[in-house]
Subunit: 477 residues, 2 copies
Amino acid sequence: MAKEKKMVEAITSMEEDFAQWYTDVVKKAELCDYASVKGCMVIKPDGYALWENIQNELDKRFKETGVKNVYMPLFIPESLLQKEKDHVEGFAPEVAWVTHGGLEPLQERLCVRPTSETLFCDFYAGDIHSYRDLPKVYNQWCSVVRWEKTTRPFLRSREFLWQEGHTAHATAEEAEERTIQMLKLYADFCEDFLAIPVVRGQKTDKEKFAGAEATYTIEALMHDGKALQSGTSHNFGDGFAKAFGIQYSDKDNQLKYVHQTSWGMTTRMIGAIIMVHGDNEGLVLPPKVAPTQVVIVPIRQNLEGVMEKTLEVKDMLSNFRVKVDDSDKSPGWKFSESEMRGIPVRVELGPKDIEAGQAVLVRRDTHEKITVAIDEIPAKVGELLETIQHDMFERAKAHRDAHTYDAHSLEEMKDIADNKPGFIRAMWCGCQECEDKLKEEVGVTSRCMPFKQEKLADTCVYCGKPATKMVYWGKAY
Amino acid sequence: MAKEKKMVEAITSMEEDFAQWYTDVVKKAELCDYASVKGCMVIKPDGYALWENIQNELDKRFKETGVKNVYMPLFIPESLLQKEKDHVEGFAPEVAWVTHGGLEPLQERLCVRPTSETLFCDFYAGDIHSYRDLPKVYNQWCSVVRWEKTTRPFLRSREFLWQEGHTAHATAEEAEERTIQMLKLYADFCEDFLAIPVVRGQKTDKEKFAGAEATYTIEALMHDGKALQSGTSHNFGDGFAKAFGIQYSDKDNQLKYVHQTSWGMTTRMIGAIIMVHGDNEGLVLPPKVAPTQVVIVPIRQNLEGVMEKTLEVKDMLSNFRVKVDDSDKSPGWKFSESEMRGIPVRVELGPKDIEAGQAVLVRRDTHEKITVAIDEIPAKVGELLETIQHDMFERAKAHRDAHTYDAHSLEEMKDIADNKPGFIRAMWCGCQECEDKLKEEVGVTSRCMPFKQEKLADTCVYCGKPATKMVYWGKAY
């Protein structure tokens, strides 16, 4: 009983302490656990099932655009990591180093991949010869390691799971097209599948990926008004190609450098799902990504006929991901548990319901109760799941829009940053100095220069010089 | 053109040099490539697609038995690895050690997981409290690292991909049942899906897993007469539970140790597919695991109507994994390429065929050509794929049976080992000394004590003392 009790003990309310609320949900919805290696995590079945659903859907969408999966080694020799100057500067301070294999010291240190640009480049240098070998549109699913100082489950951990796509193209145009295509794919995935609205845009030079010419990003707003970078897509131009000597002979028999891209999405999206949709009862899962979409809770399950009817209803729902909770816990416990786990629809079925030929459906997102005839359960559940998915997106979008503020002056920006958590839209001159100052004085970073630009003012919110871009600023995870 | 040429250059014949034939197939069928880290490999799209098919099918079969996927950290602290004495002795000599995180030395060395028993045990010790928490039937898909001295693509590499299942049970009986269940699942998978017949049995104490009470194995015979251990399932009893303190309070309120199992299958199965089914034209893939089941090769594709009909036939075959080779290579190149890649069925379609309303189907496994009416292609292809899958298994089984020999004396055993590559069945007294001597003098290791025992003689083939078991012996990868 100790375990059950923990499940339904109230969690910290998000208004009181959002960080503690997050940790409570992660633990009590049994998504992950701490591991004996500091900063690493054990992803438990319900957490991993979320990742599997993310993975399956993304993988399907990737393959529809011609992506092929491959697998590169876990280790990168130090000399290989150092081939691209900006890249090594960006990553060397946070990699884990292997120095011994078996009982012997290695001749050259190997780093555990923090990302695999250098490995893909090394491979492409040997594998690409002619224009006929292009494009290469490869992806891998794997874990990567970054030796972070402060860590939080899913959001920032020393090891995390992700996919990393790495492509090589004949022309700069084609590379740019692929970069944008993948960012759009990520954005659509987040909005359609995870019900998380995102702002699409470009990172400033300061915030772009180490070694990239341009980094595009999708930025989501969490319930506490902080931003979460949710997926990035990088155009490398021919920088890596020159560093690694990746050339092809074109139709005109000229040797040319390829143009490359990379793009990734990680297990931090599980953190995003929690922080965008969760409430004070726990997790709230969008139906499309929910490992269990419907839980059926029989009431007085030992009475004759109750379990029979429960299993009958389960069979009627075979088009959905459905579970029966026939444990010997009380219905009250089971309700709380299903809410903590974020299961979108609960079906309550007791002897009186059965007698009346009906059941009660409960929406996780709104707690709304709907009584329906047993025959109509499958149709109603299908409809409800669609409605919930739709409403969750709309709710998240309304929240995001209500927490997006325009700042026309530095004073106004400081006031918003101090008092109204959310995105701040403000004009910028384009120089890094202003960006640094805004971080120092206002405590915000540039999240992105959105594709959808608006002219809020003529001048930079910091320096007053002519503005070149409207930027989304914010505090971020 | 350089690339195409390489594709259809003859590969080394397997009769001449089996090891070189294997390497040639791996390279020319583009399954994998060497990486800049010695002993590691780049798994290319066609190799990885094989692994994805293996993974999807195994994962489906696992889940049908109640398995849940999780993810454990990549790193194991040295102190954790040392908790189970036999286990650390077995693995410590071949692990890679991380000694630095970022710019600083670690306080405790971390090994890159060679297998994750210790991590699962550490997790279970904190997660299992009551009989209600049992059984735990968890699995993970990941890569592991073993610092091998000599390596070969897929068969033995310093990093490989696998799944590792780790379960905890209330009773010894239940653990033994799960161990056997998973071995049976592996055996069925190999035979049904990969068309590879296997011998099911138990490892001797000498060959069992470090820390296990009993290891069960499936052993396959490669075309060259060498054995390949293809999947293992271990019963740990309560040894790890005692070392890690994994206890639960039972219904009678007594604290008891759990009983554990683990089981794994790896990317070496890709090596098995190559070495069981391949021939001197290259790879031969069983239809169920083949990434592409049917390739359509249009002949004189620039003539009017040929590509139209080709695409029409492709649409008719949408129930299968089908590709059209419309590259500008000659039909001859395309035929060789499809053979090298092991695609089970080739459809040849030229202007004369189209005029006659027919096409030619070619079986990869037998090279048999069958002319069929275009309308009948889908039905015939479906039938052919089933026949090929069936025939490939029967052929492999006939080969295995024809290369399984009984030895009644040491002399006979030496003669077989020297002259007839294959499995050698012989009686054994059960002591490790004889096993060591057979390795030394005959050059064979015990592959398994098969579940299906036969009494070939009363005495041990080596020492002449009373025999306790019939054993499969052989040279092995």
